[in-house]
Symmetry: C2
Subunit: 143 residues, 2 copies
DNA sequence: AACAAATCTGTAATCATTATAAATCAATTA
DNA sequence: TAATTGATTTATAATGATTACAGATTTGTT
């Protein structure tokens, strides 16, 4: 897993994205916390280190990273856009009780769908919702 | 497939939703056009028959239907909420060229995911994006 | 140091959705 | 039929995330 600032710089250079402190920090934020943050969460996290940071910069940077294929957009819920630096194919589960988002692996069989054999598939998203084990046991304890 | 207004009335009664002309028409619109319409598309389609219709009513009705489990929300794209009356488990493919949304069947294997064995899964959405066969052939012809 | 190009910032504008309150409608009773 | 009650619909205003934009700042180059 790539994590150091130097490696992130390389990743940007490969994709012809100019380097800036803000861009590196947004990338670092996504890399360190694989928590699928929202724009607000990224902004709040970085604002401590970069008091002058503008939310517009966070939006702009994320658009650049998404367009370059380094980051994917997650829209499990209406009005809750999140960002994920893990481009490997995987599913997202959102707990409707605590709001936490979990990654899970998905079967390659899903990809080989006869019906779509004549389609060019560029992007795949699998979103589940429900209750996570932690919240399930809390609910049971309070009974 | 249920389609007549009478059958839609029954469906509403079963779920303890009071019947109104607007509610029936929204339901009918979703039933006749399995095109996963947006709020605007529903509003525009019904406005011809119901000139007094308010967009707020469309929003309110859809919320009631979704809460009752008769309709599901589709959020393939940010800022493009669509509604689907087909509650059977299936995937959605959106063509990035023509914007059309296609249904496709998904494998039951997807559901039996070991990692999520301790999770309570209440909702599953599979969203693909790419280019549909029609747009692919257009692109090839124009080469 | 000066210049040009890119990036960042802050504010204003946009647009879908939600909140709210008054108007309308439907059903019931007198 | 008229009055009453409750639910639904409507129109408008408010909200909030995102985008547009223009000026300020930074960076790299000569």
């Amino acid at each position: 897993m790539k994590s150091s600032l130097e490696e992130l710089e390389k990743e940007l250079k490969i994709r012809n994205i100019n380097i800036s402190y803000q861009r590196l920090k947004v990338l670092e934020c996504l890399t360190l916390n694989h928590c699928h943050p929202t724009v607000d969460q990224i902004f709040t996290a970085l604002h401590k280190d970069i008091p002058t940071l503008s939310k517009t910069t966070v939006y702009n940077t994320l658009r650049i990273l998404v367009d370059a294929g380094m980051v994917r957009v997650i829209t499990i819920e209406e009005h809750e856009t999140r960002y994920d630096i893990d481009m490997e194919n995987h599913g997202h589960f959102k707990c409707e009780s605590c709001g936490m988002i979990y990654d899970f692996s998905i079967d390659i069989d899903l990809l080989t769908c006869d019906e779509l054999s004549n389609f060019e598939v560029n992007d795949q998203n699998v979103y589940f919702k429900g209750i996570c084990p932690g919240c399930l046991s809390n609910i049971n304890q309070n009974k």
